[in-house]
Amino acid sequence: MATLAIEELVSRMKSNRRFMENVTAMREIPSNEGTFRPFPEWVRPEIASILGKRGIKQLYSHQVHAMESVREGRDVVLVTPTASGKTLCYNLPVLQRIMEESETRALYLFPTKALAQDQMHEVHGLIGDLGVNIRTYTYDGDTPADARQAIRKQGHVVVTNPDMLHTGILPHHTKWQKLFTNLRYVVIDELHVYRGVFGSHLTNVIRRLVRICRFYGCDPVFICCSATVANPREHAENLLERSVELIDKSGAPAASKTFILFNPPIVNRELGIRQSALTPSRKIAADLIGNDIQTIIFTTSRLNVEVLTKYLKDQFSRKKPLGDQFVTGYRGGYLPNLRRKVEQGLRNREVMGVVSTNALELGVDIGDLEACIMAGYPGSIASTWQQAGRAGRRKGHSLAMLISRSSPMDQFIVENPDYFFASSPEHCRVNPDNLLILLHHLKSAAFELPFERGEKFGNENIEELLDYLEEKGVLHRVDDRWHWAAESYPADEVSLRSINPENVVIVDTSNAGDHQVIAEADWDSAFTTVHDDAIYMVESQQYHVDHLDLERKKAYVKKVDVDYYTDAMTYTNVRVIDSFETGRHGNLIAEHGEVQVVRKVVGYKKIKFYTSENLGYGDVTLPEKDMHTTSYWFTIPRDLLSNLPYTQAEIIDGLAGLAYSLHHLAAIILMADIRDIDRSIGDKSGEWFVRHGRDKRMIIAGPHADQDEEGVRTDSFDPTIFIFDAYPGGIGFSDLLYREHEELLTSAGNLIRSCPCAHGCPSCVGPILEVGTMAKEVALAILRLVGRA
């Protein structure tokens, strides 16, 4: 069969009426010719010549702009599309300077080890061509102990990540004397990743870095690169706390692209159920790959990566025998060598289809793909453009397609294409003066260098905090200096990322004599993916989990071939620790403050492949995990609810439906990823909370109550809906939601009332299989009670 080129496929889609019925928008993004400039005069001829050999005879306008600014010592943030030659903007001035002054040092920060490796190889390539003695090393947790000393003393360019800077470099800065006395450039790539908690931490790490630089008498230039976000300059200035020059006019040529928003058909109007986004994704991806069009499919969860990879593998292996690599999965948790193999396979087109989580969203080098399918809205406009940018780089035509799920966010995006195409992407927010975060870093900073009276650290007057730490006995003040006075190593007490740094390794015991590690799972996701009796999938091979040994951090699995997968059921319980603010809105009380969230995996569902039929349940016994975070909540007085003409079970369903829509709307209002926040229904004391049982929702007394205990009546507590930050310590969303309380409830009223479904659907109060057939009606009744509908 002859294969079709991508332009022909796109025009066939356009003429397919059934296909077009589900397309809510199709936009043509024109190609861009590019603006070129010659190399600046100061660039050494050797550098120009080796670049020339690589086909770079002249530069893009933004590259020249960035290089000139860096050369003149200005801090810059560069915001241009994927494949616009961002890395050269810093590599060229850095290498040039090292060639001029051989003592010069540069520090590169990447959010992941994989990106750091990539970058190191790129710099190595340039240095190799130049034939100069410039030493570039990655320095991270994998760096062998015997290599570290050489890196500290001799590395011209040290490529690392913020976590390593935080725990491994800054607290040992005296060993890095050579680097810190000669540090001229600090490169921070993928700046947009540093938002929320991670960004707040990074800002503090930068404060510490600048403080150490000052001690050694250096003042490096900061060069930042970011994907397109709404406020790149402001974000860079918030992170670096200095003014930064913005370079955002790309001179790079870009291929034309067709961008399609696709809403899968409604398959059950009564239940408001749409076809799963995976179904059209599978069909379209198979069509593209079958036509030799290299395609990347992004899904929103690791589980979906595996399910979709299996579907596609099944499909292609039916036709003809193909290499194992023809279609493959890619996600965090795959071992590094497997990931390198996939990346390599993508570059040399052995891999024609890859199903990935957002792990491939960042700048890992996978070459130029032609089509990108997003099975589900990635959660933010910035991520959507970033993922779409994976297809089509410089020439030819490319296709990007967003296929929506039933969730309110997805529906909002595909049903409002103007909003999507016209809207600027998200703002990046940080709150570096979050007291808990600040306190952690003050400790680390004091460990690194004593604080002097009057010294600045961020925007706060820190003296009171230093006094506090002195009172607690971790600092000791003498002669107006605060010294670290404790045995512990403060940088180890806090992880910059929300995830627990611990990992669980997954061991395949299918072959009794030859146990093999096949993957790893981070601590948090291990609870939901490799609990006892779970079906775990790697590269669409299924494994049954025989035992999860939390103590040894190992999960023992065996290969199986079954027709189902498992989905964990968890419960969440929230208890208020401290209320920061309280406001009365009619007969409701809204608050925000600090809460303790307890989560526990209680069981799992077995779900059949293809039909998604529920095949049964199993129990799981795992310890609960708790987290301190911030939350916004409001309480509905019980007297009010007792006036409603519904049963207590229906009222609970109504509250659950309301919480569902509030959760999704909050994510849109905050322009945050839906997973950045979470919801729970309970009462403020944490004494009662609502839990989803096997067949009904019930109110449970305390998190330890027995699953089968009789439900408690709604009239014995004042139901409270919590929308909380899904990160320990909080990101500062709850404060914003508290201020938007009225708007939030009004929007929920509008959303639910105007939804065309009969009894509730995933686009308003949630699927009726989960919230029941009365949820929509009761949720509206509750909103009417409080004057919002």
Partner: protein, 431 residues
């Protein structure tokens, strides 16, 4: 589009925070919140240690020392001299004066030391505010020692507060400049690195890291490790140097004692630390004497010491002193300790084989199988020699067969390798 408007208002001004709440109120709230968290993590703020109740005692009443002042400030110095005739465990202090510098250089693997005199050495041991290292750890007590010809001098530089560290370091720096090499116990990975860091933090030149360095930990492990439960200095004192400490403070308690001292200024809190540190320095000196003594081995009766000698031979081989090593090994080959004799013979025979001295090698192997016809190493080597050099297949076959017939203890790999050899020999004999 009211959501749009809201969004713009919400996100438009991230930089300027709206009306920050009253700071003192917030700090109060913070305290409460942190206290809640801290209560769940008991190890964070350790309470003062009990056991030092009652009236505070001045430092000077616990340790005899003086305040010293220099250009960089003040600190507290304890000076002590131990006369040559005193004993420390089973050694006399004056033995330090006869330190063999060539052997010290061999142990240290630093040739330069051979040219120095024993009075050029500076013994060093620090007590620190933590064991994890990093720039937040300081050496609040620096113990040093040297032999001045008549006595062993110890000095202890104590920073009574963080502000006195600089003066103490400057004093150490002056003293170190007058010495030519350094002797420590685990100083390479701990004390010297930590002090270098402190010099940098105090913007003082670092005189230590350039000195040749004899770190006693590694040679102790090599030469004595086989009979020690662990390689801690305290264990070596007890097992090897014949010295037992009474009421010594456990190292793990030292940092907290110092933090308590900072707050209470009670000399009793640090008295034990001074004594602990002083003994460490003196023990390092006698340990140096002991280790160099081992290199001058003369046949000893005690079987246990034969193992020390074997370790010495190995060290000498590594340092390229083959003749000396051979001397040790030849005499150890006669040891009553079978394990030692065997190993000595093995090493010795391989040295001879490498040098082409087959006569000697064969003599050793034959001696080894005299007592034990199934000595795997000797049989294998002899069989190889018979087969490849002598062409005496019959004897080789015989040797191998004996092993296979009697060797029910052979591992699978060993049995396979011997069987393989046997088959080949049978073929060759048959030809």
């Amino acid at each position: 589009m009211s959501i749009r408007r809201k969004l713009e208002r919400l996100t438009g001004e991230t930089g300027s925070r709206e009306k920050a709440p009253d700071r003192s109120q917030e700090i109060g709230a913070l305290r409460r919140r942190i206290d809640i968290i801290m209560r769940r993590r008991p190890e964070v703020a350790a309470p003062l240690r009990s056991g030092f109740d009652g009236e505070r005692v001045d430092l000077g009443d616990v340790v005899r020392g003086d305040e010293v002042e220099n250009d960089h400030g003040r600190f507290f110095l304890v000076h002590d001299e131990i006369p040559s005739s005193s004993r420390h465990g089973s050694r006399r202090i004056e033995e330090i004066s006869s330190l063999d510098m060539r052997r010290a250089a061999l142990i240290a693997n630093e040739d330069e030391i051979a040219g120095f005199h024993c009075t050029d050495g500076l013994f060093l041991d620090t007590e620190t505010t933590g064991l994890s290292g990093g720039t937040g750890t300081i050496a609040f007590l620096i113990g040093i020692g040297w032999f001045d010809g008549n006595a062993f001098v110890t000095e202890q530089l104590f920073a009574r507060d963080f502000s006195e560290e600089r003066a103490a370091l400057a004093y150490l720096s002056d003293l170190a400049r007058r010495k030519r090499f350094l002797i420590t116990f685990n100083g390479k990975s701990f004390d010297v690195g930590l002090l270098s860091s402190r010099f940098i933090m105090n913007r003082l030149p670092d005189p230590l890291s350039v000195l040749p360095h004899l770190d006693l930990l590694h040679p102790s492990r090599r030469l004595l490790g086989h009979r020690l439960e662990n390689s801690r200095l305290g264990t070596i004192e007890q097992e090897v140097l014949g010295f037992r400490r009474e009421g010594d403070i456990p190292g793990s308690e030292i940092p907290q004692r110092y933090f308590d001292w900072l707050r209470r200024r009670d000399g009793r809190l640090v008295g034990d630390i001074f004594e602990h540190n002083r003994l460490d320095v003196i023990s390092m000196a006698t340990l140096t004497v002991h280790l160099t003594g081992l290199l001058g081995y003369e046949p000893v009766r005690d079987d246990c010491l034969h193992e020390d000698a074997l370790a010495v031979a190995r060290l000498l081989l590594d340092r390229g002193c083959e003749d000396e090593a051979q001397g040790f090994l030849s005499s150890l080959f006669c040891s009553k300790n079978r394990g030692v004799a065997d190993e000595a013979g093995r090493i010795l025979s391989l040295i001879c084989k490498r040098k082409g001295n087959w006569t000697e090698s064969v003599r050793i192997w034959e001696e080894m199988i005299t007592g034990n016809a199934c000595h795997l190493f000797a049989v294998e080597e002899l069989a190889k020699w018979c087969e490849h050099r002598e062409g005496d297949f019959d004897r080789a076959l015989n040797l191998v067969q004996t092993v296979l017939e009697n060797g029910h203890y052979l591992s699978i790999t060993e049995r396979n390798s011997f069987t393989y050899r046997l088959d080949r020999l049978k073929r060759r004999v048959g030809k």
